[in-house]
Amino acid sequence: MEDNLLEIRDLVVEYHTDDDVIYAVNNINLTIKKGETIGLVGETGAGKTTIAKSILRILPQLQADLKSGEIFFEGVDMLTLAERDMRKIRGNKISMIFQDPMTALNPIEKVGFQIAETIKLHNKIRREEAERRACDMLEMVGIPMDRFSEYPHQFSGGMKQRVVIAMALACNPSLLLADEPTTALDVTIQAQVLDMMRSLKEKLGTSVILITHDLGVVSDFCDSVAVAYAGEIVERGSVDRIFNNPHHPYTLGLFGSLPRLDSTEPRLKPIKGLMPDPTNLPSGCRFYERCPDAAEACALSPPQDIEIEPGHTIKCIRGKEGGI
């Protein structure tokens, strides 16, 4: 497929602790087209961050075990690349924004230097040229150039996240992995940062995987959505389909639990129970115990992906009709 930028096939990742095996990612398939922005949605422990880290191959080496799967980026299986080649991709063609801007920056280096460092590493240019480009990047994310020589502690949270974004975009990557980029920020600052990210990705034509638990951010920012639950993608489709015609009971439950300003319901409708223990996943459908529509067959074998509309798949044998 020509226009697929990234293709993840049957990815399985486990974490090993002294006593247990944590099944973090179980047979995930995900395709991202050039220029597409996809929202990867799910709760804590759904495996969202593990997917992103697998793409960049930055999983913790000792504990994590990438059991099987293939990750094709621009037609090359990255899991077979040598570490040397991988290093040329990280921060260059694929870069990542981490959740917490307070810990993502080096506290004892000037912010401008940290941006220039990335640029210099991936391009054969002189230091002055790299610094000049770093200045341009700062301007682009809305930070005045004269703050080039300041240290991270002199910036506020929103400003630090802008620096991190400038670093991530410095080499004009074709894929940006944004792991909860605005979760640590106040809403008014979040609105500013998202607005900036939107105009940058349009300007640069970057594909984005936006990892978030906030469905509001997704509808505002993404073209398509993948809903993750207990290490699987349970529903995948365009934003329009997922928001206006969701089918998987978990997605429906997620919308019901969401406090929203436009609702007239006096009470929220939570999903009962908790996410299954990742060391001991049920053999059938992972959502079986919490599902209001579960049937006996659901507990027996894990459901397969069913395409209910072109581009809209769900992992549920009962694939309910109708919207929210």
């Binding site: 506020s156 106040d186 809403v187 008014t188 600052i189 509808s219 505002d220 997620l254 929220l268 009962k272």
Partner: protein
């Protein structure tokens, strides 16, 4: 009838190398029994300090706090011990607010040990009853916090706060560390408890969409001051202060197509150290003009709806 809690011109300043940090600067409110006041604002607006000052967890700089009609601004140690059982708090982070070396049972029992004259078996029965009330299975009574997930830990926090049958609970961002499906469970639990026990809540949060579900009145704070206060429905229907308008519009709404018109604020929150006398939101406000440099007077623009902005009428007319 005397209200349960009345706060008059409450101030809390912190001394700081650079000057006086005005964390809470002249807050007034009244809370009736069984009602909820939502306090909303962004980081650094003083909402947490307000909650803690009301509970005397930190001493107020000046102002009055009346609880059940009695002035408790300067209580003796003994008086405070009596007041404590009526006013409790649920903290934000269930990962750091519980003693890691206390089991679930010990943690919930602690307030009973400190305040009630009960035998050990009575306490145990009471603890189990509390666990049942907040929905933690008794099989967890000997578990330690690290063995539990965030939702269950927060339930312990709720049980501890309920143990002495208080009348008033300050809830300091009780659900912001939780996932949405768990968050909804805890919010519903708190609403149920309020109905059953007639509790009054002061619900401190940064999340306006959460507060909508739980509050009777909502107060929006900015840099230590109240900028707007109104009954919940009225605030959402008829938002007056430019800051509240921006705050509301900044919340991403989970609908598609998303045609929301965002009011993007310029800049960030200014320093709360030695603030100028005028409107504190002025530096970020697109309606700011000369007269905003004067101290803002709180006006009642509709019954029970207060706003601290000298231009709210003009802004409203322009919008309509």
């Amino acid at each position: 009838m005397t209200p349960l809690l009345e706060v008059r011109d409450l101030k809390k300043y912190f001394k700081n190398k650079a000057g006086m940090l005005h964390a809470v600067d002249g807050i007034d409110f009244v809370l009736e029994e069984g009602k909820t006041l939502g306090v909303v604002g962004e980081s650094g607006c003083g909402k947490t300090t307000l909650g803690r000052t009301v509970l005397h967890l930190i001493e107020a700089t000046s102002g009055q706090i009346l609880f059940e009609g009695k002035d408790i601004s300067n209580p003796t140690k003994q008086e405070m011990h009596g007041i404590r059982r009526k006013m409790q708090i649920i903290f934000q982070d269930p990962f750091s607010s519980l003693n890691p070396r206390m089991s679930v049972c010990e943690a919930i029992m602690e307030p009973l040990v400190l305040h009630e004259h009960m035998s050990k078996s009575e306490m145990l029965t009471e603890t189990r009853r509390l666990m049942d009330t907040v929905g933690i299975a008794t099989r967890f009574e000997n578990s330690y916090p690290h063995e539990l997930d965030g939702g269950r830990r927060q339930r312990i926090g709720v049980a501890r706060a309920l143990a002495l049958n208080p009348k008033f609970i300050v809830c300091d961002e009780p659900v912001s560390a939780l996932d949405v499906s768990i968050q909804a469970q805890i919010i519903n639990l708190m609403l149920d408890l309020q109905e059953q026990r007639g509790l009054a809540y002061m619900f401190v949060t940064h999340d306006l969409s959460v507060v909508k579900y739980i509050s009777d009145d909502i107060m929006v704070m900015y840099l230590g001051q109240m900028v707007e206060k109104a009954p919940s429905d009225e605030l959402f229907k008829n938002t007056c202060h430019p800051y509240s308008i921006a705050l509301l519009s900044a919340i991403p709404v989970p609908v598609y197509p998303n045609n929301a018109q965002r009011v993007l604020l310029r800049g960030e929150i200014t320093s709360p150290i030695n603030p100028k006398p005028g409107c504190r939101f002025m530096a970020r406000c697109r309606f700011a003009e000369e007269k905003c440099n004067e101290p803002q007077v709180i006006e009642e623009c509709a019954p029970g709806h207060f706003v601290a902005c000298c231009r709210y009428k003009e802004i409203k007319e322009n919008k309509d």
